[in-house]
Amino acid sequence: MRSRFTDDDAEQAAQLLAFAMRPRLLPSRDNAYRELLRRYRHDGAFRTLTGRIAAGLGLRVLGEHEDIGLAIAADGGSPFETRMETYARRTQKEGGYAERFLHGIIHLAVAAVSFPRPDDLAEDEYVGRVSVDVVDAVVREACDRLREKAASREESADVPSDAPELELAWHAYANRPEAFPTKDKRRAMNTTKGMVSRALNFLAEQGFLTPMKNAGEDVFQTTRRYQLQVRELAATSAFEELVALGVVLPMAVTTGPGTVAEAPEDV
C-alpha cells in the first residue's frame, strides 16, 4: 500500500489542496493548478491520496470541475473551519444565541433566494441572483406566515423570561429591526439588512458570489462553486439534522423518481 505513492505524489496532492483552499483561484488562470487537477481527474490512485490527505486535515472534497477547480469544505472541528463565533464576533455586541442564529439563518436565506426551486439547485447552468432587500423580505415574509399560523392556533410567541433559547426562531428574526441609521447615516451592522449585506460580501470575498455591475447596489449573482457547495454539503447536512430532530420528513418519502416530498411545514 505504502509503496504505491511516492513522496512527490504526496507533495502534489497537498499542493492541489493548497490551491483548492483559495476558491478565487481558478485552474484556467494557473497552469500548475490545471495540471494537478487533470491528474486528479484521470489518476484514481492520486485522487484517493488527495482525498485521504484532505480527510486528515478535516476537509472534504465536494467535487471538481475545470471551471471551478477542486471544491473542498471544512468539517466541524477542522482547523480550516470558519467558526460561527469568529464570523459573528465582528458585529456582535451583545446577545450570543440570537446573534449567531441570525447570521446562520441569513446564510441559509441567501441560498434559498439564490436557488428558489429545487431545479435551480440541481441544474449546473443555473445562475441565481440575490440582493440584500430580497433576502430580508423573503425571511420576513416567512416569519409573517409563521406568525399568522401561530395566531390561528392561538399559540403565544412570547418568550419565557428565564429561557431565551426557547424564543421561536421567526420571532427572533422578526423582532430585529431591518435597518436603522447609524450616527453617520449609514446602515447599522446589527440589523438584519446589515447582516445580509455582510453575508453577501463575505461570500463574494470567497468567490462564491460575484457582484453584478449595472444592477445597482448590493446585487450579486451566484457562481457554480456556490451552487455545488450548497447542493453537495450545506443543504444536505442541515437537512439531515432536521430529519434527525424529526422536524421534516426524510427525502425517501417521494412520490416518484426525481420528485421531492413537500415539507410538512407547508405554508
Binding site: L59, A74, H107, N175, K193, S237
Partner: protein
C-alpha cells in the same frame, strides 16, 4: 410627553401611505409645532430637541432590537406560574433607496384608535357608521374624531394589503392562490367599493353641513372633516389600483417563478424544506442545523497565523515601502538607415554629357540609344531630364542666372525605345538673357524672346 408621543405616532401614520413611509425630518418638523404650542415660552432649539427625543424614545434607539418588551406572568397548564415577555414596537425604521423612513406598526395605530387587536375590516365599517351618524346629528367635534379613526383604519388596511402583495411579488409559493388569495382580493375590492360609496356620501353630507352652517367654528370643523375624508378617498383609490393589478402580477410572477422543466436530479427545496421549518423552531434547537449549513456553505479558511514563530516573524517584519520610482527611462537609440542612392555621381556626369547636345539638337530616341550604351540607369536619368525639359521653368532659370535651359518639343511621332513609351521629343538648348532691372513684367515678354531663340536654334 405622552401627548407629544401620541402626536408623533399620529404624524407618522398620516404621512405614510401605501408605498412610502414617513420622513424623519418632516415628522420632526410637524411635531416641533405641537411642542411649541405646548411650551411657547421656550426657544426653537429646545422644541426641536424635545421632538427629537420623543421620536427616539418611540423607536427606542439604544436597544439592539429597537422595541419594547413587557413582562407578564401566566399560570400554565400544570398550574405553574411562568413569566413571559411580550415584545412590541411602535415606530420602525426602514431603509429605502434614498435613505431611511418611518412606519407606524399596527400596535401603534391601535394605540391611536384606542382599541387593541380588533379586526381591521369590521372596525372600519364601525368607524364609518359612527361617523355618518355623528354628521347627521350635527355633532361635528365628535365626527372629526370618528373621521380620524376611520382614516387610521384605512391606513392600517393599506398596510395589511401592502405586505401581502409584496410577498406575492417575491415568491408565489408562499401564498395560496387557489382559494385564499382570490377571496381576499375580492373582499378587498368589495371593501374599497363600499368605502368609496360611503365616503362620498359622507363627504356630500359634510359639505352640505359646512355650507349650511352659520357658526364659523362649525364651518371650520366641517372643513377639516372634508379634508380628512378626501384623504381617505385618495388612499382607497391607491389601494384599489394595487388590488386590481394583483392578478396580472400573480400571472407574470407565476410564469417567471414556477414553470420549469422536469427535475434534473433530486435536490432540496431550500425555502420549503430548510428555511421555513428552521424558522419554526425555537432558537436553541435551530442553532445546530443552522451551524451545519453555515459551515458547509463557506469556503475553508486557512488559519491566518498557524504558529507562534510565524506570528512573531510577521509582526517583526519591516513594512515594505513601495519604490517611489520605477527606474530610469532609457533613451532609445536609433540605427542609421543608409539612404539608397538611385543614381551615382557617375550617372549624373554621363547624363549631363549626353544632354549637352554637342550637335545642337537631337531626338530623344537617339539620346536614349546613346545613353543605353553606358548603363540603363543613365538612360532613365536622360529620360527623366528630357521629360522635365518639356515645359521648363523659365522663370526659375532667369532668377538663378542659369546660362541656358534644355527645351523639349514633341515631334508627333512615337518614341522608339524598348524601355520607355510616349511621344518622341526634339531636344534643344536655349540661352537665357539676364534680367534687366526695371524692365516690364517678366514672363510674357521673356516667353516671346524664348520663342525667337528657339526658332534660331531649331
Amino acid at each position: 410627553m405622552a401627548e407629544i408621543a401620541l402626536h408623533t405616532i399620529d404624524q407618522v401614520t398620516i404621512a405614510m401611505d401605501f408605498d412610502a413611509g414617513a420622513e424623519h425630518t418632516k415628522v420632526l418638523e410637524q411635531v416641533k409645532h405641537f411642542v411649541a404650542a405646548q411650551a411657547p415660552d421656550r426657544d426653537d432649539a429646545e422644541h426641536a430637541a424635545v421632538a427629537d427625543w420623543v421620536l427616539q424614545r418611540l423607536i427606542n434607539v439604544g436597544t439592539i432590537e429597537r422595541g419594547f418588551s413587557w413582562h407578564y406572568g401566566l399560570v400554565g397548564d400544570e398550574g405553574t406560574y411562568d413569566r413571559f415577555e411580550f415584545d412590541f414596537k411602535l415606530l420602525v425604521e426602514q431603509s429605502t433607496p434614498d435613505g431611511f423612513s418611518l412606519r407606524a406598526t399596527d400596535e401603534a395605530i391601535n394605540v391611536l384608535v384606542g382599541a387593541l387587536d380588533t379586526d381591521v375590516e369590521s372596525a372600519q365599517i364601525a368607524a364609518e357608521v359612527k361617523l355618518d351618524n355623528l354628521i347627521r346629528r350635527g355633532r361635528l367635534a365628535d365626527a372629526k374624531l370618528a373621521a380620524e379613526q376611520a382614516r387610521y383604519r384605512t391606513v392600517q388596511y393599506g398596510e395589511t394589503l401592502r405586505r401581502y402583495l409584496d410577498a406575492t411579488r417575491r415568491d408565489v409559493r408562499t401564498v395560496d392562490w387557489e382559494r385564499v388569495v382570490p377571496d381576499l382580493l375580492l373582499d378587498a375590492l368589495e371593501h374599497i367599493e363600499g368605502r368609496y360609496t360611503a365616503e362620498h356620501a359622507i363627504l356630500t353630507n359634510i359639505t352640505a353641513a359646512r355650507d349650511d352652517s352659520d357658526d364659523p367654528r362649525h364651518k371650520q370643523r366641517a372643513a377639516e372633516l372634508v379634508e380628512i375624508v378626501r384623504d381617505c378617498i385618495r388612499r382607497h383609490m391607491q389601494l384599489q389600483k394595487a388590488v386590481q393589478e394583483a392578478g396580472d402580477q400573480f400571472r407574470s410572477e407565476q410564469d417567471r417563478q414556477l414553470f420549469s422543466g422536469e427535475p434534473q436530479r433530486a435536490a432540496l427545496h431550500l425555502h420549503g424544506q430548510l428555511l421555513v421549518p428552521l424558522l419554526g423552531l425555537p432558537v436553541g434547537k435551530a442553532l445546530g442545523p443552522v451551524y451545519d449549513f453555515f459551515r458547509g456553505a463557506v469556503a475553508p479558511a486557512p488559519p491566518e497565523v498557524p504558529t507562534l514563530p510565524s506570528l512573531v516573524e510577521r509582526l517583526l517584519q519591516r513594512p515594505s515601502e513601495p519604490e517611489r520610482f520605477a527606474g530610469e527611462v532609457r533613451d532609445p537609440q536609433f540605427d542609421p538607415v543608409p539612404e539608397r542612392e538611385l543614381f551615382t555621381p557617375e550617372h549624373f556626369r554621363l547624363a549631363s554629357e549626353i544632354l549637352s547636345l554637342p550637335g545642337g539638337s537631337a531626338s530623344l530616341s537617339d539620346l536614349l540609344a546613346r545613353a543605353r550604351r553606358h548603363e540603363p540607369q543613365v538612360a532613365r536619368l536622360v529620360m527623366h531630364r528630357a521629360a522635365h525639359a518639356f515645359n521648363p521653368s523659365v522663370g526659375d532659370a532667369v532668377r538663378e542666372h542659369v546660362p541656358e535651359v534644355l527645351i523639349a518639343v514633341p515631334t508627333g511621332d512615337p518614341l522608339h525605345s524598348p524601355q520607355f513609351g510616349g511621344d518622341e521629343l526634339w531636344l534643344t538648348k536655349a540661352g537665357v538673357r539676364p534680367v534687366v532691372p526695371g524692365s516690364e513684367e517678366p514672363g510674357t515678354a521673356r516667353h516671346e524672346e524664348f520663342g525667337d531663340e528657339i526658332s534660331l536654334h531649331g
